[in-house]
């Protein structure tokens, strides 16, 4: 039989199911979400027989219709009919674990039961009579150890054998006589409408008045009325509702099983309890939690993780690196020596002096600026030098620039004030750093001294983009192809791959916290704080992580067990400024306060903005319909602490990291190539341009500011009206916002290109000036507009990498677009408020948009402070009476 044989794996959370799954399959399987919910779906083939596929159901306590985890599990068991089911029990908790077992046994599937963690039980001194248990449950029971891979294959073989024979579990008669009697009657009533092996299952569902299960059956009115009569009688006799009767009876029966099969040793304080005495202690609990968080942050964001990612980004994807440290030191030394000579300042100064004396310098400028002097250039230089000699050109007091292209004074201090023409504004006592005299000989030396080139040193490994550019150039590829491959493809993929080291480090830590049992304590300790905002105690972790990078931040929402909290956290967590947004903050800081000293409070302000944005959003969203629904109980088990096996820990990490690469990678790749196309293609409409559409840099006479003519600029112009009320309705701001979607730090470099600032960075005064100019109208800097621009870029949709991760996490286009739409909308409103109120209170301007801003503010305040709206409170899952609603 070549057909795939499906085996479902059911069990409580933390019963060792995932370990068992990984041991049996090696976990090279498929990890995704169940359709429509963010609940993880895993399936993989058995290592020893590829025809057998294991489906790992989410860890659940019951097959009730309430949580998405429980619904997907029971839908799978009842509707998808796996060939067999393995129910794994944690025997240290056998009483509660058996509760799910009683329900699984009713689904009419062949069931094999695995007793996990028997070794722990023996340590405790408890004894389980397996034979007796098997007899009472009516299915085979196998003692296993998932951690030590003991008996696992036997368990699976047993399940396959049962499945092949097709012996369905009957389900024990676990209810009290009057309920059993009622169930039998109901089973007869509905016999025609249900599959035979599900008779008992549906009889119980009818008895519980489970609307979800009944919906599938389409029972007639007569059937429902007859059943209702039976149920009502039992309820009256027992003075309880049918759902409670079923639950209590199950537990009562389990108590008899416990008496018959389990001998408990006298209780001692377990190690786990001893640890918990300290870790969740009333006094020490919070400090320990904070210490662990600081440690995670320090390792993943502060040191190892970020360093690893920076290393990959800086070396593999940008500059290349040395494997030989002596030549690296030598290169750095040479570079420093080269910088100290200020050769380019000398060249610029000398050329300027020559120009003053009436010598044309534009061609020479072009010849020396590209750093590569051809024979034609040499000729040009020679004639220039001859002319300069004849006229006796000497440059004096040539200003020096530092590495960021900034002017300096008093021996290296940064000039932070420039006037409109870019000339330095100095106070008395400040003297600009200059080179007193540049002669022709100095000029010749400056031109002929090449900047040290890393490639000339031994042990230098080129970066991937550089290396690929080299190969493609040698292979004769055109500029378009090179740009597409290097800037588009490698740039895009690089942004995904660059994060892998950080994500890896982060998940090493988080998977450990999760697997060892601390994560559920986090929820226990922090619940009180976060519940107020409609978030889970575990939402804290994604937010901390997001301050480094939103991608692992969104990924780490996986540990939140409630679906609504999970969605909300995934949506909001990227509002915390990540490290890529820091250059943007640095830019504003530069404009507002000049040098970086003394303005330590600016950056924390943006973190504060992020935190406030999250809290406000969470409180507002909590009161909307999609996040409302039924109240979510916190009720959860605190599992025993245990050291995870290295193998399952490693697999867990691998699973998370590879899922990120696969799913996030594809969307980022496509988006990056798209943006590349938009910003590099356009119509050559500049003066002397051909007027045709094409690759801008490749066309004749393309200026440095070629991006002005790109499609992106066109889109920026078309969309800029959206940002008019926010004070930055120019196309440059819009275009750089779009290009910042690839990576937020691109905002700064795009500015550089748009304003022709070349290699200026966020630390360059010229960049601050250009940035400030964008918000300067008639000589007045509109700080509100600038802050609005930054706030919008902080809060709106994150970069493609993070969006791809949100897409993967939500696994539902509707939710993904809702998340992105909300982020952009909220960012826009915040920007509007900042700009309009600044304009109103500082400049006194009042207009239509001021009114709109007030309206938005009022709406936000209303949503924040209004009481929780009452949605339809009727229980949709369990009916009050079968007659209550015609079941379709």
């Amino acid at each position: 039989m070549a057909d795939t044989f499906y085996i479902a794996l059911a069990g409580n959370p933390n019963c060792g199911k995932t370990t068992l799954f990984n041991e049996l399959t090696g976990s090279n399987g498929y990890v995704g979400n169940w359709p429509g919910v963010t609940v993880e779906k895993k399936q993989a083939e058995w290592k020893k027989d590829k025809d057998v596929t294991l489906v790992d159901l989410p860890g659940i306590y019951s097959l009730s219709p309430y949580s998405p985890e429980e619904v997907v599990s029971r839908d799978y068991l009842v509707n998808d009919r796996p060939d067999a089911v393995i129910d794994l029990l944690d025997v240290t908790n056998i009483e509660r674990n058996l509760y799910l077992t009683t329900q699984v046994l009713e689904t009419g599937r062949p069931v094999a039961i695995g007793l996990n963690m028997c070794d722990l039980l023996k340590e405790r001194g408890d004894v389980i009579d397996t034979k007796q248990l098997s007899k009472m449950l009516g299915v085979p029971v196998v003692e296993v150890s998932a951690l030590h891979n003991k008996n696992l294959d036997e368990l699976l073989k047993k399940a396959v054998e049962l499945g092949k024979k097709g012996v369905a579990a009957k389900g024990p008669k676990c209810f009290s006589p009057e309920v059993e009697d009622a169930l039998q009657k109901i089973q007869k009533i509905i016999a025609n409408s249900v599959p035979e092996d599900l008779g008992r299952w549906y009889a119980i569902k009818v008895f519980e008045r489970d609307a979800d299960a009944l919906g599938e059956l389409a029972l007639t009115k007569e059937q429902l009325d007859a059943s209702e009569e039976i149920i009502a009688k039992v309820e009256k006799d027992r003075d309880d509702d049918s759902e409670s009767i079923i639950t209590s009876d199950r537990y009562d029966w389990i108590a008899t099983v416990m008496d018959a099969c389990v001998k408990k040793a006298p209780k001692k304080l377990t190690t786990s309890q001893k640890i918990d005495r300290i870790v969740t202690n009333r006094v020490l609990g919070l400090p320990i939690f904070i210490a662990i968080m600081i440690l995670v942050y320090y390792i993943a964001i502060g040191t190892v993780g970020t360093n690893a990612t920076d290393w990959v980004n800086d070396n593999l994807f940008s500059d290349g690196f040395f494997v030989n440290s002596t030549s690296e030191t030598q290169y750095n030394k040479d570079q420093k020596a080269y910088d100290s000579q200020h050769y380019s300042d000398k060249i610029d100064g000398f050329l300027a002096a020559a120009k003053k004396k009436g010598i044309s310098t534009s061609k020479v400028e072009a010849a020396v600026s590209d750093g590569d002097i051809s024979s034609a250039d040499k000729k040009l230089l020679k004639s220039f030098e001859a002319k300069a000699e004849a006229k006796g050109v000497v440059a004096t007091n040539v200003p020096e620039h530092d590495g960021d292209g900034n002017l300096t004074y008093n021996g290296g201090k940064l000039v932070t004030k420039l006037d409109k023409d870019g000339n330095p504004v100095l106070k008395s006592g400040q003297k600009l750093d200059t080179i007193s005299k540049v002669t022709l000989a100095d000029f010749k030396k400056a031109v002929s001294t090449p900047a040290p080139d890393q490639h000339d040193y031994s042990g230098f490994v080129d970066s991937i983009p550089n290396a690929v550019t080299g190969w493609l150039t040698n292979a004769g590829a055109s500029d378009v192809v090179i740009s597409l491959v290097v800037d588009g493809v490698i740039g895009g993929v690089g942004s995904v791959l660059g994060f892998i080291p950080q994500i890896f480090v982060l998940f090493v830590l988080l998977c450990f916290l999760e697997d060892c049992g601390y994560m559920s304590r986090v929820a226990f300790v922090m619940d009180r704080v976060f519940r107020r905002f409609g978030l889970s105690g575990k939402s804290f972790i994604p937010m901390i992580v997001s301050s480094g990078c939103g991608v692992p931040g969104v990924l780490s929402t996986k540990t939140i067990e409630n679906e609504r909290d999970r969605r909300m956290t995934a949506m909001l967590t990227t509002m915390i400024p990540c490290s890529a947004k820091l250059p943007i903050i640095a830019l504003v800081m530069g404009v507002l306060v000049g040098a970086d000293n003394g303005a330590w409070w600016v950056a924390p302000m943006f973190y504060f903005l992020g935190i406030v944005a999250i809290i406000v959003s969470a409180v507002m969203l909590k009161k909307t319909k999609p996040f409302q629904g039924e109240p979510v109980p916190f009720v959860m088990e605190l599992p025993d602490y245990h050291f995870p096996s290295i193998r399952s820990w490693a697999l867990h990490i691998w699973e998370r990291v590879s899922a990120y690469v696969k799913k996030a990678g594809t969307i980022i790749f496509a988006a990056a190539v798209g943006i590349w196309f938009l910003s590099n293609f356009g119509i050559a409409s500049w003066q002397g341009g051909s007027g045709s559409f094409g690759y801008l840099q490749g066309m004749a006479g393309a200026p440095d500011t070629y991006m002005d003519y790109s499609i992106l600029a066109g889109i920026g112009g078309a969309l800029s009206f959206i940002f008019m009320p926010l004070g930055f309705g120019n196309w440059q701001a819009t275009a750089s916002t779009i290009s910042a979607l690839i990576a937020k730090e691109n905002l700064v470099s795009t500015f550089g290109v748009l304003y022709g600032l070349g290699s200026a960075t966020e630390n360059s005064v010229t960049m601050w000036q250009g940035f400030a100019n964008m918000f300067t109208i008639a000589g007045t800097l509109h700080v509100g507009a600038m802050c609005a621009f930054v706030a919008f870029n902080m809060l709106c949709a994150p970069c493609f990498a993070a969006m791809g991760t949100i897409r993967r996490q939500m696994d539902d286009p509707k939710w993904f677009w809702f998340a992105i739409g909300y982020e952009c909308g909220f960012g826009w409103v915040v920007g509007l408020l900042i700009n309009q109120f600044y304009e109103l209170f500082v400049f006194g301007s009042f207009g239509f948009w001021t009114v709109v801003a007030f309206a938005f503010l009022a709406a936000i305040l209303f949503q924040l402070f209004r009481p929780m709206p009452k949605w339809d409170e009727k229980d949709e899952h369990i009916l009050g009476s079968l007659a209550e609603e015609p079941v379709a």
């Binding site: 409670s244 408990k264 226990f524 300790v525 619940d527 009180r528 979510v632 088990e637 369990i878």
Partner: protein, 78 residues
């Protein structure tokens, strides 16, 4: 009628009735809090809520709001 949220740390009690409805009630029952079960209140979180109880041989945590849905009797020192 006292509820589980009134029981102090270190005290035990017996469940007499579950009020509340829907998901919360079902979840509490699913976790083994059913009529006549003995519950020991084990500890309170650092911020005063939720609480941790020992029931059916394991540790369960629930919010005070949810504990208010559990009516109890026979409160005694454990």
């Amino acid at each position: 009628m006292p509820t589980l949220s009134d029981v102090k740390v270190g005290q035990k009690c017996v469940v007499s009735k579950l009020t509340g409805e829907g998901a919360i009630k079902r979840r509490i029952m699913d976790m083994g809090v059913t009529k006549n079960t003995e519950v020991l209140v084990h500890k309170v979180a650092p911020l005063g809520d939720p609480i941790e109880v020992t029931i059916r041989g394991y540790e369960l945590s629930l919010r005070k709001d949810e504990a208010r849905c559990v009516e109890v009797k026979d409160i005694a020192k454990a």
